[in-house]
Symmetry: C2
Subunit: 598 residues, 2 copies
């Protein structure tokens, strides 16, 4: 039977020892009263919910999937999902990081991010229901009218209703400028919306009494392309002013996709047949409004793969310690048994350590970003808020793409540790691989993330934000310059930083002549940037561990952190030796080929 243990100690290490979140948060007015004890208590309770309520539903949810009743357009989620959602709502979890003005608990995003990591480890498919609600909440909170906020936010906050993002149509996903769903104004100020949407996660289900759809559509006078898209809120049931449910709106589930994974989440085809909606934000500014939600969602997707990497690692580790097969090459280790546990084999350890290092690097980066989000929202100084926003904008595509590519590799390696048993359902490992695969695709494919990073976030401001990240690295190097024990962790990152600077200039110059040079380099560039960032965080984790050891700690946790960092620099970071020349290889070798089917 698969296991899952919330990695509380690892989370606390990043939160309290590496990032010092208590101090950081106390400088923010909304969190001035929050102390470490409260954070830890919330994490512990959150871990229980994930482990006891969600995790037992994961394999069954995958096997059963969702079902659509074609007559009533109703969707049933797998057995137990509704009850788990009821407990989630009753426990107040939906409100964790929501605004107290609408009934929220006002806790910081950095804590919410830890909570969601655990939910994702336990059951990504289930977690997408509240995850999308939270996205809809954020979007309405930022762009809704007073009336929309008063009507929708309290019920998204308490979890009574859930939300969705309705962007994709069958002919357009990445290129939303092509979308065709149309919205016609009515005399009462509302809109009549008609069209078809696909790939709508959590698009229809039986968990909550109402679903708040955020729908992109075109007004009659809209300019062509992405500058003519407006955002509408389209509730499944039209709420009366008091929040009670009124008429069923003309937005229906016409089909569910049969997917590779995340079977427990309903991926709906939605048909809008003159559904009633109200405008969110300004006309033709819908894409910008939706992007508020998408940036947070991209951090959320990285967090999904972090969760899957962690749970896959834990189960592969248990298997590797229990499964006996062959003898160690360096002599029998379990002499009283007919064979050694497979964890004695160096390559099994390589696979396990890869997952472990990717999880620990991703967690540090993920929580650093969530803290930036809290600071961007609540720091008193506007310049500092902008600094946080810029850094977050730089790091968001790295979190999304690097963590999800790594997550797919890590879950695949964990599956490999189990051999044939990894390929069959009962161990749960093949499900993690299938679930992890979607994270590289949705919320902007990883290629789109790479173009966003290199084209917009780096070259778009001539590398200014990237240099700010370089300053963090410079500060660490200056701080630890006299500490020989830190050299092995800092030197490679500083060298990579130098190479990245040259590479950026080189691609920037070539792209001025031919923008395809940027497109040809972007994916490798993003991975190299990912290692720059991970390398920095592994160095910071090593710094903390070395200090604790120097201060006399005998907790084996700290030497283990050093060993993971050493493994990372010895076996994963050297990928950069390939990425840099590949990113420099130019577009010619891609574009000059006539790719015709023979």
């Amino acid at each position: 039977m698969p296991i899952y243990r919330p990695p509380l100690r690892d989370m606390q290490f990043i939160l309290h020892e590496v990032l010092g979140v208590s101090d950081e948060l106390q400088a923010l007015a909304p969190h001035a009263q929050l102390d470490q004890g409260t954070i830890d208590a919330v994490l512990e309770e959150g871990g229980k919910f994930a482990t006891e309520v969600l995790f037992p539903l994961n394999i069954g949810g995958d096997e059963e999937g969702c079902t659509l009743d074609q007559t009533t357009h109703a969707v049933s989620t797998p057995k137990g999902f509704k009850e788990a959602y009821t407990r989630y709502v009753a426990g107040g979890w939906a409100a964790l990081s929501c605004d107290p003005a609408y009934g929220g608990q006002g806790l910081p995003m950095v804590l919410n991010q830890c909570f969601y990591e655990m939910l994702n480890s336990a059951n990504q498919a289930w977690t997408m229901y509240p995850g999308l609600s939270h996205g809809a909440y954020e979007c309405l909170h930022a762009h809704g009218t007073r009336e929309q906020k008063d009507l929708y936010l309290p019920r998204l906050t308490n979890g009574e209703w859930t939300g969705t993002m309705c962007l994709t149509e069958s002919h357009c996903g990445t290129d939303l400028g092509l979308l065709r769903t149309r919205a016609e104004p009515r005399a009462d100020g509302s809109y009549r919306i008609t069209g078809e949407k696909i790939f709508i996660s959590a698009g229809e289900h039986d968990l909550a009494s109402n679903i708040v759809h955020l729908v992109l559509a075109r007004l009659p006078d809209a300019p062509a392309g992405s500058k003519g898209i407006s955002l509408f809120v389209v509730p499944k049931f039209e709420p009366r002013a008091d929040g009670s449910l009124g008429e069923r709106n003309a937005i229906y589930c016409a089909g569910l996709e049969h997917k590779m994974g995340i079977h427990g989440n309903a991926t709906a085809q939605l048909v809008l047949e003159g559904a009633s909606g109200s405008l969110v934000g300004q006309p033709h500014q819908g894409l910008a409004a939706m992007f508020v939600m998408m940036n947070a969602a991209r951090l959320g997707v990285g967090n999904q793969s972090l969760g899957l990497t962690e749970v896959a690692y834990q189960n592969a580790l248990v298997y590797a310690r229990e499964r006996i097969q062959m003898r160690s090459l360096s002599g029998a280790k379990a002499k009283d048994r007919p064979a050694d546990p497979i964890i004695v084999h160096p390559d099994v350890r390589r696979m396990l350590l890869t997952a472990k290092a990717y999880a620990e690097g991703a967690r540090a980066l993920s929580l650093y970003c969530a803290l930036l989000l809290d600071k961007e929202r609540s720091l008193p100084d506007g310049h500092l808020r902008q600094d946080c926003a810029d850094m977050l904008a730089l790091l968001t595509p790295i979190v999304k793409a690097f963590t999800t590519d790594n997550g797919f590799e890590a879950t695949t390696l964990c599956q490999q540790v189990l051999g044939g048993h990894g390929y069959i359902r009962e161990w749960g490992m093949e499900q993690h691989v299938r679930d992890a695969r979607i994270n590289m695709i949705y919320e902007g494919t990883n290629t789109i993330q790479a173009l966003d990073l290199l084209g917009r976030k780096v070259l778009g401001n001539n590398g200014a934000t990237l240099r700010k990240f370089g300053q963090l690295l410079g500060r660490l190097a200056a701080e630890e310059g006299g500490n020989g024990k830190m050299t092995e962790f800092i030197e490679p990152v500083v060298n990579l930083g130098r190479q990245m600077t040259e590479l950026t200039t080189d691609i920037g110059l070539r792209s001025l002549q031919n923008p395809d040079e940027m497109g040809a380099a972007a994916v490798d560039y993003l991975r190299a940037a990912g290692h720059l960032v991970f390398g920095y965080f592994f160095a910071r984790m090593a710094q903390v561990a070395l200090r604790k050891i120097a201060a006399g700690s005998t907790d084996p946790f700290y030497p283990a952190k050093l060993q993971t960092a050493r493994f990372y620099f010895a076996r994963l970071f050297p990928e950069t030796a390939t990425l840099i020349p590949r990113a420099r290889a130019g577009s010619g070798v891609l574009m000059d080929t006539d790719l015709a089917l023979a």
Copy 2:
């Protein structure tokens, strides 16, 4: 709807233009009469069978899977599988490369390998049924008694019966020395076999009237471990001397595994309740006999991933040419349409070209190995036969592991080209990824392949066979030394050869002190060796293309081959810059960590 077009031109390029198989085969007595026209005609007909009969059953087979009737122990294969098998038998395909002494057509393995590539592209799950039969055929042909051969080979050759390999038990896969199934001799010279086997591909089904199981078990006097394993043939129905079916034997299917992919193939749990069997080969020598079959099977597994890479590539290419989304970064290319086909984007081309290059490299290597197999069997000179056997032994783990790792990466990239559409079933792409995943696991995990390569095939003979491969490379370099146009293709491979020589010596020396050094390096070493071999074949393909162009050919096929080779050296081969330092990183960083669950 997914498409598949047999890559006949690509196969002919390797067979006739790169490898010159007609000349090579005519030097072998059994194939002296075989000409290019016959080879091409067989390929064309084989391609039709794959495309018209098997391919339409692939998605349905995945959706429906196999079902077991617990009462009768009978297994039903998906709709259409049985009819397809009947057509396969009627077409004489089962007999293609079998011995004419038993009714075979006696065609070479190199042709069979092409045929199987197409079957695997069309339907890997179905193809495993005849694939395993062919393995059983080879094993009995090499090790069976005269009586066993006369009884079983004609019916495996004509496809009337199918075969299996029964190795794995629940507590042992890699470590067959632990197996517990026991065989007790009976007075009539037969054996009574009792035990439980798992993961038996094609282990029970409704395609053929009888199943010939080859079962590993222990005799009562067997020494412990892998030197006490014997091989038995255990038919589902005990045949009478005339080949008619007698009594139902006590070997039953007790369950089917629920797997990530290859759903159309029945992966059976088999229970032997005193089943009647006869010994194949010598007592306690069963593992060696089974290895004859496993080596061929490992080439077959590489070929499965080649097939999946090819079909995934073709479909991703079709999609990339048809799907319009966004504009080219270097200016609109399809100005009359609302967006450009996504094939204009450099990163989409990178993904497509990765799959294309991996397919073309794998095909060259796969057919080179199959030709070695033909030569090993039929060359008149014993020394030359041994040379072929040695080279094949060196290359087999590379074919198995490098091709299957690449195949998983390639199918995953092709899925990525389709974005969200790649994650849902209807396009067939996610199935290719799921199917491709097993190839890295079965027939010896890819870690086992790496240990076999580095430990046994390279260090085991002090690099003698690897040096022979180096001589092929040296010959090519000498041949083309004066040709500046070949420098870009030869120089990187020669450099890598030099690095591999140093690396091999280094690991060899360190392993003398600590064998875990070999285990820590093996997987990266195998991938580096894979690039050495692929690099060599891309250079040979480029050589042929350059010669054809120099001779005045205007066929766009040849410049396209040059471009694929250039892409390979620019974007895939540089992986070696990471692999070499990783392989040198040593075992300490893996072994010194205490991998405890926090």
